[in-house]
Structures are given as C-alpha cells and as structure tokens.
Amino acid sequence: MDYVILSVTLLAIGIIGLVTKHDLIKMLIAIEMMTAAATMNFVVFGSLMENSLGQPFLILALSVDACITAVALSLAIAIYKKLNIRDIRDLSESQAEETEKNQQKAKEDA
C-alpha cells in the first residue's frame, strides 16, 4: 500500500504539472513522470507476488514510453520550426488567428 501511495503522489504531481505548465518540454517531463509512476506498479506488485512477471510488462511499457517521447518531441520541434512557438497557449492563439483569417478569406471570396 505504501508503494501505491508513492505512485499516486508522483502521478498527482505529474497531473498538476501537465495542467499548470504551458511549455511543451515541461509538459513532456510531466508525462514522463506520470508514466514512470504508473509503470512502477508493475514491478511493485510483481515483487509482492514474488515472481518476475512485472518486469517484462515494465520493459514493454518503458519501450513504448520512449517511443511516445520521441514522437511528441519531434512534433514539438516541428511546431517550433513552423510557427516559432513553444508555449501551448500561443499555439491555440495562432490556430484561432489562422481560423479567423480563413473565415475572412472565405467571406471575401463569397
């Protein structure tokens, strides 16, 4: 139960970070933390049941987690290169401006 409390605490810190931070890299750090907290349970419960069944699950989960980080980071870099934006609020503002421009253009065409 102690390990579950530790895992939940780390998960809570990750969720708070994900919601309060707007920097894309900081959000990725929060996501990494959340996945680490969640996958910790595999090993903890496997160890409590005195078998090594938790370890393969952790290995699978960690590999997929690394893939997620790589893809998310390359998306962040692509966004930065295209729009020069690293803050997620600027991204939504930029999207809103673009939508507005498109709507105005459509009206002018009509």
Binding site: L6, G17, L24, V44, Q55, S63, L73, K82, R86
Partner: protein
C-alpha cells in the same frame, strides 16, 4: 525500511523540482534523478532487469531527448493563473483518489508463480513483443517523416 523512506522522499522532492524549476535543463536533471531513484527502488525490490531498463530508457534516453528538444527551441517566461492551479489540484485529486480507494489488498492475493523472465517474454508475451517491435518501427518512421518534411519545406 529507512532506505525505502529516503528513496520515497527523494523521489517526491525531485518530482516537484522537475515540474517547478524554471530552467528546463534543471528540470530534466531532476527528472533523471527521479528515474535514478526509481531504478534504485527496483534494485531494492529484487528486479535488476527492470532497474537497468529504467536507468537506460528513463534516466538516459528520455533525458537526452528532452535536452535535445530544449537546445533546438527557445522558451519564453510563463505565468500560471490561480484558477488553473486550483483546477490542476482538483483534477489530480479526482484522478488519484479513486486509485487509492480502489486499490486491491495485495497481501491476501499473494500466490508465488515460478516463471523465468525469458520464459515470460518469449512464451507468454511473444505477441506483445512483436507488437512492440511494430510500435517502435512506426514511431521511428513517424519521427523521420516529421523531421524530413520540415527539412523539405526549408
């Protein structure tokens, strides 16, 4: 017990630092420290392979990815409103409290199963390993396509 308590306190402190430090490099270093402490916990729980994977992927690869991302971009100062902070605390409480309340009592369901690690990976979870290979390849192709598209545009 003392060692585990120290590890737990260190994990929580480094997690808080990872989120709230202003410099991204310091945050990444704190995250690596957290992963290192988790790996030590796995060693302590007699799961050496998991610990090595956690060190290699969690502390190593993820840190390199994040530092590379940080060096390729520049950030601006950010401020968070009180409403957002309150919303974050509520969201984390709503998501985490059911986990604590609904956690199974592991003490009553302990059943020892004598299965080796390699047997588990290659016999029991062989399809998972295959699917994971596909996932890794797909991710690699996705990253290459994303970065290649950007270069072509330039």
């Amino acid at each position: 017990m003392l060692f585990e308590t120290i590890l737990a306190i260190g994990m929580i402190v480094s997690a808080v630092f990872a989120i709230y430090l202003k410099e991204t490099i310091a945050s990444v270093l704190s995250l690596s420290t957290l992963m290192l402490l988790i790996a030590l916990l796995y060693f302590n729980l007699n799961a050496p392979l998991a610990a090595i994977f956690q060190l290699a992927l969690g502390a190593g690869t993820a840190a390199i990815f994040l530092l590379a991302g940080d060096s390729l971009t520049t950030k601006r100062d950010e401020t968070t409103s009180l409403k957002t902070k309150f919303l974050a605390v509520v969201a984390s409480a709503v998501l985490c409290v059911p986990m604590l309340v609904g956690t199974v009592e592991t003490g009553s369901v302990i059943e020892s199963m004598e299965i080796s690690l390699s047997q588990t990976i290659w016999d029991l979870r062989a399809i998972d390993v295959l699917a994971q290979g596909i996932v890794v390849l797909t991710a690699a192709i996705g990253v290459i396509l994303l970065l290649h598209e950007e270069r072509r545009r330039k």
